[in-house]
Amino acid sequence: MSELSEIEHDALTEIANMAVGRSAGVLNEMIGLEVALSVPRVLILDQSNLPEHVGNLQGKELTLIQQGFDGPLSGLASIAFPEHKSLELVRLLLGEEMSLEEVVELEQEALQEMGNVILNSFLGTFGNEFGVNISSEIPKFHKDMDAHSLIGDTGETGVSVIFIHVDFCVRAENIDGYLVLAVSIPTMKNLETLVKSYVEKLG
């Protein structure tokens, strides 16, 4: 991100914060309970430096929802839920009246839909702020993944990653966990152009 000035980097971080806020809002609407969030940690880094930043996610089993996106910006957006909390989140989403068997049966579809809404909300905020259309693919569900899977297998060098980590807590149900968004962007030049234009418009 050395191509961005301090103010441009600040603008990108601010848009990421807006996007996280909106994503948290939709999570709150979906489960119908207050979701307490920590201040998001927003980092923009080269993917080769990601391992040193995933910190407390190292060695943990994650449920991942990943969605490719294309347009003026292209890449992969991921959301991770702690695996041992997955079923509790699904129960919150579908309602208490569901049996355990039904919750287990619908776990993948429910988390996929939750990821779909959160990721689209996140990417849509970037699209709206930059005034461009970002098209996204159907989200994919992955279980038993680790933190390195967050950025997918890009097979490319020089790929940048917007990495956002938020701790969340649903106090009413004693569920705590984390929500991680990793957006890998091979088209970093395009992002830089969009950010510069965004800052210019701010005057």
């Binding site: 909106r22 939709v26 609407e29 979906m30 989403l93 579908l94 309602g95 619908l106 579809e109 429910a110 996929q112 839909e113 779909n116 809404v117 990721l119 689209n120 909300s121 849509g124 905020t125 699209g127 709206n128 259309n133 970002i134 996204s136 693919e137 159907i138």
Partner: protein
Amino acid sequence: MYQTLLVVDDSKVSRMMTKKIVTQINPDALFVEAAGGEEALSALGANVVDAAVIDFHMPGMDGLELVEKVKTLQPDLPVVLLTANIQKEIKERAEKLGAGYLTKPAKLEDLEAFMAG
């Protein structure tokens, strides 16, 4: 208030969530479900529905393509695009096709306004 609703979404969970809210609005509501565009068009040919709620992101035919086809077949059928995609362009394209636009997660008051006609 619409009675029979076509609900199109590749996610079974999303269809369940939509039906749950609509049933709160109209406990007598009936549903015709489809998991994709082609299935929705077949369902539309085989059933009489009062309105349609259509997802955008679906494998194969996307929601806007489906809205266009539905509007060609039944121009007066009230249709709303229910999508997680919050981008303005999607809203504009839906409205240009004569469909409403709602964002996921679906909210009771939004669907209530749509159901009221």
